[in-house]
Subunit: 313 residues, 4 copies
């Protein structure tokens, strides 16, 4: 019966997140190469594949959402060993429950020369269609943008969650916000945080309504940092121009409510507006991005441009 | 018990909408001035205030959503005689049930020198707050953009609907898509169509989450046209670069489903892609805009840029 | 933009509803016979077919939801002139906006010798099926129970609503709670209240998931009364053993929230429990009845047995 | 990106479930006593506390949802070591993924002399209230009925799920259907099945809207059995008079759709009605029970009495 609804509380003691790499960054580079034999399919507590210190840069790769199994027209989804194979986990020294893990996304490159799109029975926002795999010609290069569909940490409460489910710990958010130049904040729920990522995307429509984007293997360069003693309820994003808060659940209405409640709390804590003023301001200039409506939980990112905010406290 | 769910059907025999004013346009200008004594609060069948022929240009005005009653700090919402006063209705000669009404939005200007924002008990996507009217300083002029929050026609089935409820007939969509350069398509449900509009907005955040935008009286210049014998299920928008379909209901999930189902049908009918191909394409490059999540029904506009589509049939 | 959400407010000044016919009842009987030529398809303001005083008894009839047009296997829904033909409206002398109309359901009898069930494209909670009319053999007589699927008054705000849509004014609630022995409370929104009813049902499953019940024409005997000066937000029911509050919207979650908020307010106002105590008590012994999930809005009735409540204030 | 939506498919190859203990039952009794030191808080793969063979009877106990920590008025929820402590897991010999685990609920008795009800910040279907623990006097004994709020198995896909979350594997369903005389069917996702239970309830309202029932420690007597080679998508219940299928997710609308889709499939597979006939029949005589709307996922049980069904195939 009892339920913790930590993520839905209106009071959000969140503030002073590292906006740029901290002065203490020791920019050592850690390299790790993932293969189909080392990927995971669950976010949870399992021995790490590498350890990093705050400030370190991780250079690694991810397989595409089918484990790079679809090579040519005619290959079917049955070749895939599992959905959304994850690279990791990576242990961050000093990360303890209640901290926030900071992920600066420095570079993402497609690690191959094709992109795969598919749909299949029971996938998608509109369909109850038959199993219909297909291979698309690449879309015009100018619209390609690369991002990691999956990025997250070990969940709280001892849970282990499938690589297809996004939730408070991040996961399969399918958010283009996970792209170069943005910083992602995730809660630390277990010692070391245990970061996982995968499911590279090149080009995706809002909502990813048929269930796939242009799916690609990826090379990733990420810099990791910690905010000690600050908890993050739900994943957050930040760049030079915007702050962005994710809300993740069903129906979309509740995801929107979560995302804006987080954003109101963030503006209140870090920029000093009252919660009602923040709410009213967002009603005038806030943005909503429905990233996907096809995974078991749906993902909304609410954002505001920093130019509308007062100076940070 | 019985329910018509026409708007949710997957087969959409919609095509060849007028994209630009038809050759037969007789660009007479009809002028009409609305006052607090002539506005309406319901979309329905009532004697028209003016009659126009297809191709005519309407020059008219709208009061703000409070009927221009809030003049200075200290004025309260109790001064308002009703929500969203509507200018109209306008009778379009030759419009019959089953036709589509075409509204080219030629110009919108603020008809005054202030904008009003407010929230009040029971308004908004997040709050259950107390009655808290307030007046905001105008936001920086560079971000202002003007649109009509309300535009719609008399509903089908003999219904008359309040000016606060959006639905198949349009209404309180709070959609920035109703702005200059765009064309709006609405169903004709009764002879003459009976067009209403009002609720001018300058600047609004996605979702309009606290319940108001920057509310302004407006001057509007609209050109009206007809597509005979083509029915439109739900409001649609079009401009040089995009086609856009609205979905209107709760929860947001269903509004998204309606909007994309309409857009799939439109692409299929007018651009010749199969429905599954259209669906897959939208999963890669479609866009979702949640315009408001505060009115009794929520509004989503799904869109695609024309550059991704083949030549029109 | 602006929205009244009167029905969602937590403070509900509702009390001392007439539980049994008031002492002032003048039990005159008014008889009215409806035919396919006099039925209506919209709840709204239109000349009444008869006038009654509080305490009067109405003896009338309703056609089935197809207007009695389906007579034998092979007849199709195209024979129906409209959905849910409504008997009425009936004007109740002295009813003014802000009052509550009281409807004692004294007797309901099937007015014919068959029941019709059907489903058709786009109907139902699960299907997207093809047009598939059918006639069912009557179900075993022991499970038949009779109720009016449609009963309601003219809506507020000058709206006129279709006979297929339930909302604050009642309407197509498909609620077996509208059966003999129960009393229904409805808001009075216009002078005379203007009561309509129709859509008799014999036997229906919870949710009416395929879109029809066993549809029958009905003879109805109703006694009407007024509670002056007390407003009812949403329809309520009462009998010797229970109090019951309806919530009507989508998704079902919100209908549940409305129904329980109303019931908490009712218990607080009439039985003196604090709102939190009422809430907690309902968590232990309350009941939820999802009457239909197929009309444009869904209907939930929340209830509690009076034996769990203290004496009425 | 990719999602398996096995539970939403319309074709359900489910049939010939054991309705009563199979002939091969070896009614050995296995006894196990749970304490606060041996309970678990996650459904997952962990060493079993006992092993049983099909047909064996389990006699065991569960702590209440607060771990029996609330002893007297004044005790606060902070005394609880965790929510919904679970007894188990129990390994069933021969259970393999793809099988169905059968749980006959033979006896449930309160294991103590008090019941606890509470609500707290963020709990419940209506509230955003402050932390307000309370102890209720027991309700009249005649309305008490006992059931296990939590019962489930290790999830699929390597997941481990918190004891507060219900899903395909069962879990915190808060379903009075888990009471004496009923049989519960659960999917086997890992070798041995790994059954957990806890969270005894005496008396609960539909929806459990304030977040707690009358919470009690429980003594349980369960008989376990297996259906080899038959997979169960979602939990199902059965007794002499009814078959019942659970649907678990948000919003309630989707839980209803899941539950009825399962029930349609069950009737089709075991009783030989076509899916459309089953759908239509449920529209006339089906029942919906919303057991809880407060846990992260909501639970609906759809049911039909066997007297309306033809003989089993």
């Amino acid at each position: 019966m009892r339920v913790h609804l930590a993520g839905l509380s209106l009071v959000l003691p969140f503030s002073t997140l590292a906006q740029t790499p901290s002065a203490s960054f020791k920019s050592e580079v850690v390299q790790y190469h993932a293969t189909i034999d080392t990927v995971k399919y669950v976010y949870g507590v399992t021995p790490p594949v590498a350890r990093l210190r705050p400030g370190n840069i991780l250079e690694s790769n991810s397989l595409d959402c089918f484990g790079n199994a679809i090579k040519k027209p005619g290959d079917t989804l049955s070749l895939s060993k599992g959905d959304n194979p994850l690279t990791g986990p990576f242990f961050i020294e000093g990360a303890e429950p209640g901290d926030t893990l900071v992920v600066h996304i420095l570079d993402l490159q497609v690690d191959g020369n094709q992109g795969v799109g598919a749909f299949a029975p029971g996938f998608g926002a509109l369909n109850e269609t038959n199993y219909t795999p297909m291979l698309h010609p690449p879309l015009p290069e100018r619209i390609w943008f690369y991002f990691l569909g999956c990025i997250g940490v070990a969940p709280s409460s001892g849970e282990a969650r499938s690589s297809v489910v996004p939730a408070e710990f991040g996961g399969n958010m399918d958010a283009p916000e996970v792209s170069v130049g943005n910083t992602l904040y995730l809660p630390v729920n277990v010692s070391g945080g245990l970061l996982y990522f995968g499911d590279g995307h090149a080009a995706m429509g809002d909502g990813e309504i048929a269930g796939t984007a242009i799916e690609v293997p990826m090379k990733a360069r990420l810099q990791l940092d910690l905010v000690k003693g600050k908890h993050t309820n739900w994943p957050r994003f930040e760049n030079e121009n915007e702050i962005m808060a994710a809300g993740i659940y069903r129906p979309v209405d509740d995801a929107v409510r979560i995302a804006f409640t987080e954003l109101v709390g963030w503006i209140h804590a870090d920029y000093g507006l009252s919660e009602l003023d923040a709410y009213e301001l967002l009603s005038k200039v806030g943005k909503i991005h429905l990233t996907e409506m096809v995974d078991p939980n749906y993902v909304v990112v609410a954002s505001i441009e920093k130019k509308y905010l007062p100076a940070k406290k």
